[in-house]
Symmetry: C2
Subunit: 236 residues, 2 copies
DNA sequence: CCGATGGCTTGGTATAGACCAGAAGTTTGC
DNA sequence: GCAAACTTCTGGTCTATACCAAGCCATCGG
């Protein structure tokens, strides 16, 4: 318990959430209800909720309410398992929705892959779920020469499986970049959360074993959905 | 420009920050000044500032004001360079302050290294700076058998250098875990920021080439100070 | 010259109330 | 039966104001 009331509130809410969660109740009462119960205003209450949101304990679904966050998904960027594989490996249910497909240039992809600025890409945008919660949106930018009819045959299978199986590409060199972000309004909307929600931005540039550029991809994760884990052995 | 006023404010502030930054002015005007200039209240203004803070564009120093954030430090967790080395390699100035040293048990360290719960550790806590900005606090938990007189001889040099040079340890196996967090009041205070400021928690467990536990360490970074980058080559 | 003091500035916290827009549930009308 | 329309509930945004405590700085006193 610290001096500020909202920090005390945070602790009381933490306790309440624990209890609710034990009873399988994952939705919190309405803000107005909570504010009245703790004899404060919505503003102060929301400050306490925001603290717990920052910790990853709870999250909100836009205009629907606050919910207890499920356990984070463990993700190892040094391994090549596809989303579906590693979600299932953790006993959870993956799901993907394709939001759009088109072919056009994209500056960040061109830069990251060392191609000219006007290089067109096959672009696939999709939203991915874990246990029915939308946790990320991503944009894939594939070099058309490496996968000519991609947009015609892609539905929602594994992209890497397709690249390997149909076109024989071996993904060999990756550069990965991760930074915290505040979700832009468009990304937030596609994830059904408020604009400015904390997120994690992951970008990948992928080349094959002959250093030819294959694909660039950019993911926007909800910050509380992810735990990054890396296991390394071998002396440096 | 979106519908909500605070999002418009965000864009205007972004513009103002750009201009100020170009003139070398890295401190923003006072909240009351800005609120008046944009004809709104401090509450709404702070919502806009909070958005930019989430993006990592600006940060605040507790009760001192808002400042433009410097470029993120690039960090590759798969490489073994010490803090001082990779900060300098990016043309920036590292600095470290030791906050405390003691010997006592620590449950998370014991668990992560596979030791018994009451195993004591040499504990060093330090705050680290980049270009004069405090960007992280960390706790190191070293197995005493591997570095008996550590607390007597440690001042503020490189710990890994010491482990290698004095005791001949070769750090071979690492497991690294990164999750977003809201800084706890104690950590926030040591970093001179408000409690609940967004952070990144990085934990490392380190074993030597014979799988003997050496050290566990836990870092709390300001979220906007860091860009994680991993380069991988070699086919999977 | 220098340390102590006190006032001013700044962000941090909090109250009280209001309106809006989207989500969800309920009723109505075909 | 079922879709459309309405009502209610919910979070999202915003105003206006107040007080506190820490940082900062100029002034004062030795």
């Amino acid at each position: 318990m610290s001096d500020a009331y909202y920090l005390q509130l945070t602790e009381q809410l933490r306790y309440l959430i624990d209890q609710n969660n034990a009873q399988g109740e994952r939705k919190l009462p309405a803000e107005r209800t909570l504010a009245e119960r703790f004899a404060t205003t919505r503003v102060t209450l929301r400050q306490a909720l925001g603290q717990l949101e920052g910790e990853g304990l709870i999250h909100r679904s836009n205009r629907r309410g606050w919910f207890v966050s499920p356990a984070r998904l463990v993700y190892d960027p040094t391994r090549d398992a596809g989303f579906n594989d590693y979600v299932r490996a953790q006993g959870r249910q993956p799901y993907t929705v394709v939001l759009g497909m088109e072919t056009r240039p994209h500056l960040p992809a061109a830069r990251a892959l060392g191609l000219s600025d006007d290089q067109p890409f096959h672009h696939i945008r999709r939203r991915r779920y874990v246990d029915n919660r939308a946790v990320l949106v991503e944009s894939l930018w594939v070099v058309p020469e490496r996968a000519p009819e991609l947009l015609g045959i892609y539905t929602d299978q594994s992209l890497w499986g397709l690249l390997r199986g149909r076109w024989g590409h071996h993904l060999a060199n990756r550069s990965i970049r991760m930074v915290s972000e505040a979700l832009a309004p468009v990304d937030a909307e596609e994830l059904f959360v408020a604009p400015g929600t904390a997120g994690l931005n992951i970008c990948r540039a992928i080349l094959d074993d002959q250093q030819r550029p294959i694909e660039f991809d950019e993911e926007h994760w909800l910050h509380d959905a992810l735990c990054i884990s890396v296991e390394l052995s071998g002396q440096q």
